[in-house]
């Protein structure tokens, strides 16, 4: 197959993935509305769980009876970390199961689109803005899928799908460029490492941002507000959301730190200096500092909770700004959009 044909198939695959993601979004939205119905019909069941302060950790009580019963000891008392709400216990609705299956299908098609684009170009598919956004969203969905193994965060599905579909739409309509030879400035192994790890970090920040938004909403509901968003009652308590968000974001932060360093090493090779306050470097630095601030806020009295959540959201917004507005409209050395 010619590169042009491969690229054309890749485009078809991107649009197909978008279509499947839209369906997944609808199914996730239906799931949320069903949660609302459940929450309203059994508000008495949920009210105490939501009102109560949940423990800081979500750990399951693995000391359970199995080990104790066999042993010579008599289990007198184990303080079980309470599961904060019904939702995490995981009776997924049929809508949610359908939605998640659609996400998996869409993701397979999405990855196929990336492989085709890569084959068409004969290199990694993220050397222009279009390919970068398609890769970045692919990683975002990938992180969302893989993270479910660790913890059920499918309630974020509608948010992730919305972000991904918007970005993919933007990329397909506004950023598309035909396959071109690789700009000499990009001919480096660091293109593979630096950019890939950046997208990986972005994936974690995206999930963390979603969790922080949910946390802020949940905090308001717990304070007696947001009665018109009943599905929040089926979400984990705000403190639980905050802790999960933190654990996701620090992974993103580690990747981001590496991105910054790999970028500096590459800049030293390509431009003769490892740091020169290029616009993209400035924004990468800003994002790094904001998330460093987030981590410190988590350890500062009076800054835990909503304030740190705002920092996480601002950080993710800055990441999005960096990858779209800065790439397109700011003058600098990272001028690789291909547009």
């Amino acid at each position: 197959m010619t590169p042009a044909a491969l690229a054309a198939y890749s485009v078809v695959a991107v649009y197909s993935a978008m279509a499947v993601y839209v369906l997944a979004f609808i199914a996730f939205a239906l799931d949320l509305s069903k949660r609302s119905a459940i929450a309203q019909s059994s508000s008495s069941t949920f009210a105490p769980a939501a009102g109560a302060k949940a423990p800081a950790s979500l750990s399951r009580a693995t000391t359970g009876s199995a080990g104790a019963a066999k042993s010579a000891t008599v289990l007198e008392r184990i303080a079980p970390p309470a599961v904060p709400t019904a939702s995490l216990a995981g009776q997924a609705s049929r809508f949610q199961r359908t939605a998640y299956a659609l996400v998996i299908v869409g993701w397979v098609v999405h990855v196929a689109a990336l492989v085709l684009r890569g084959l068409a170009e004969g290199r990694v598919p993220w050397s222009d803005l279009y390919g970068f956004v398609v890769t970045g969203t692919g990683i975002m969905v990938g992180v969302f899928v893989v993270i479910q193994v660790w913890r059920d965060l499918k309630f974020l599905g509608a948010y992730i799908m919305a972000v991904v579909v918007l970005l993919l739409g933007l990329a397909s309509v506004n950023f598309y460029v035909p396959v071109e030879p690789l700009n000499p400035a990009l001919q480096s192994a660091w293109l593979v490492i630096h950019v890939f790890v950046a997208t990986l970090g972005t994936g974690f920040f995206a999930v963390g941002g979603g969790l922080s938004i949910a946390q802020l909403l949940q905090t308001r509901r717990e304070a007696g507000g947001l009665a018109r968003v009943p599905f929040l009652a089926t979400f984990p308590a705000s403190e639980v959301l905050e802790n999960i968000a933190y654990r996701v974001i620090v992974v993103g932060f580690a990747f981001w730190t590496f991105t910054l360093m790999a970028g500096a090493i590459w800049a030293e090779r390509a431009w003769g200096r490892y740091w020169g306050w290029d616009t993209k470097e400035v924004w990468t630095f800003i994002i790094w500092v904001v998330f460093a601030g987030y981590i410190h806020a988590r350890a500062t009295r009076g800054w835990r909770g909503s304030r740190s959540a705002w920092l996480a959201i601002i950080g993710f917004a800055a990441v999005m700004f960096n990858f779209t507005i800065v790439n397109l409209f700011f003058k600098g050395l990272h001028a690789y959009t291909g547009l």
Partner: protein, 566 residues
């Protein structure tokens, strides 16, 4: 304060949330809270105020605010062109918005990252950081030698508390607990009827390494970076460049750079091989640029090296980077008698991907007047009224469209006599008169290789004798990258340790029952820093411990079970 900071906290005294590291700033979530109830404040003397400001500066909240200010302060550096990274952008901004330029320039926004206010933010931040890490370093070194603290009296108030009763005697249970904890990498201390254990010292070690390495990076860049220099030079084919300041087109020394200590070497561009790919839309995209250089250090002979965009060349400890490239038409200017007054290649700077190039030739001496030529060079031209336009970056061999040099001619004052530096690639037309070219009575000159033309007013003649390539190179001497890389690796390593190694204390307590009563065993943990898996870890530890006890006291087990059934 001093006495309080020295003493190891006794966990559990006033609930686990208030327990923490006394050397953390008081507003750290793990810190010792200050007594907010104290309203009557003592009168402070100078030392008192200094101490007060120092404590404010090194507090967690101040550090956080400074971090956020740092992020905010960096934003204008991306919105407004910077002198360091985009000097032409700054000039353009000044021309286009002279009024706002004055305001922004007064605020230092065109050199944001060296401006006083930005420097103030990061210097305060680093002072705050140093003020934080020094006591923490001391505290951590003490902690590394200290044994885990005394078991709290009331374990049930701590995280993951559980308790069981067993017929195993307390001493065996404690011994078993000790060996189990040791196997799991805990540091263990014995107390009456209990073991106290702590692990994850690497978390704080990593945290300190991370912060110290940040200071290291700042010092490396700020201090050692000032010993370097950078310079640019346009290198025309076959021309030798010697690494002395006078041979640079532009040269920027670091603050402490010694101009006599430039590494001696020479560079020469032998050939330049670009590769382009034709695009379906008719444009050309660059695929590869290779500049074949000869380099020489004192006492050595010329050796060949290839310079590419992502592959700088190292000559005598100095890096040479490929920035740009283009064509340099070679011209010879003669006076009316035929004496050569100017001869050589002149670099024409490319204006687009197809190397439509513009340039200036200045002939200050030898002719009746000072003469300058300004115009276009196109490797594969199509001619328009305003000048040629190139449709390919390759030199054309098509006889219908041979490479062309189109020049307008000026006479007047070139401004070269005052000893003031003048841009070699542009012409200040203020004191010049255009005597040939677009919008004058005399048509401009249109030359192909080998052609010559007479200048208007009988000034002389110009001949286009050949075409050479040039590259523009950046020459850097920077002593810091190796150190910066070392610190960067430490930053990353320290960060990973400090984020992902859990630091926790665990206690296992065995209270012997009175008489024939069973032994009561209690388990509990305490997080030191973020530790979301603590409860699970304590629960698993308890389970493990109970399984071990089951193993050691086989006979006791049956007795216990009988008792239970009965």
């Amino acid at each position: 304060m001093a006495s309080r900071t020295r003493s190891e906290p006794t966990p559990g005294d006033d609930g686990s949330s208030a327990v923490g590291d006394p050397l953390r700033p008081s507003d750290h979530v793990d810190g010792t809270p200050t007594d907010d109830a104290a309203v009557t404040q003592p009168r402070l003397n100078l030392l008192g105020y200094l101490r007060f400001f120092w404590r404010q500066l090194t507090s967690m909240r101040t550090a956080l605010i400074l971090l956020l200010l740092l992020a905010l302060g960096a934003v204008p550096g991306s919105l407004v062109p910077q002198r360091s990274s985009d000097p032409n952008g700054v000039v353009a901004y000044q021309v286009n918005n002279p009024d706002t330029f004055k305001i922004l320039d007064a605020l230092g926004l065109f050199s944001t990252f060296t401006s006083p206010w930005f420097s103030a933010i990061y210097l305060l931040l680093f002072v705050s950081l140093v003020g934080c890490i020094i006591p923490r370093l001391k505290h951590h070194l003490d902690a590394l030698r200290a044994k885990p603290p005394k078991t709290p009296a009331r374990l049930e108030r701590l995280v993951g508390f559980s308790s069981v009763t067993t017929t195993t005697d307390a001493a065996t249970a404690i011994a078993e607990a000790r060996s189990l904890l040791k196997r799991q990498g805990y540091r263990v201390a014995d107390y009456p009827d209990s073991v106290s254990a702590e692990r994850g010292y690497l978390r704080e070690t990593g945290n300190l390494i991370f912060h110290i390495a940040l200071v290291g990076i700042l010092l490396t860049v700020g201090v050692f970076g000032s010993f370097g220099y950078t310079g640019q030079r346009i290198l025309v084919q076959d021309e030798a460049f010697t690494n002395v300041i006078s041979d640079y087109d532009s040269y920027e020394p670091g603050r402490f750079a010694d101009e006599n200590s430039l590494q001696p070497f020479q560079l020469r561009l032998d050939t330049f091989e670009p590769k382009y790919a034709a695009q379906p839309n008719g444009t050309w995209a660059a695929e590869d640029f290779a500049a074949n250089l000869s380099t020489r250090v004192p006492g050595g002979s010329w050796s060949k090296q290839t310079l590419k965009v992502n592959a700088p060349v190292d000559v005598g400890g100095t890096q040479v980077y490929l920035l740009g490239n283009g064509f340099a038409p070679v011209v010879t200017v003669k006076d009316p008698k035929g004496t050569v007054v100017y001869s050589g290649p002149v670099a024409f700077l490319s204006q687009d991907n197809n190397l439509t190039s513009t340039g200036v030739i200045k002939v200050p001496d030898g002719l009746a007047k000072q003469v300058a030529f300004q115009g276009f060079f196109c490797p594969t031209p199509v001619t328009t009224t305003a000048g040629c336009q190139s449709i390919s970056p390759y030199l054309s061999t098509d006889s219908q469209a041979l490479p062309v040099l189109q020049l307008s001619v000026f006479t007047g004052d070139l401004g070269l006599d005052k000893g003031v530096a003048v841009n070699a690639y542009s012409l200040n037309e203020d004191k010049l008169t255009k005597i040939a070219g677009f919008r004058t009575a005399v048509p401009g000159l249109d030359l192909h290789v080998g052609e010559s033309a007479d200048l208007p007013d009988g000034l002389g003649s110009i001949e286009f004798t050949g075409i050479k390539r040039f590259v523009s190179v950046d020459i850097h001497h920077d002593p810091t990258p190796a150190y910066a890389l070392l610190f960067a690796v430490l930053i990353l390593g320290g960060l990973l340790l400090s984020l992902f190694v859990p630091r926790r204390r665990v206690w296992i307590k065995a209270t012997p029952g009175a008489g024939k009563k069973p032994t009561r065993i209690e388990y509990a943990g305490l997080a030191r820093g973020e530790d979301p898996t603590l409860a699970r870890a304590v629960a698993e530890l308890a389970q493990r411990h109970q399984q071990h006890l089951e193993g050691v006291s086989e006979p006791a087990r049956s007795i216990d079970r009988t008792a239970n059934v009965g």
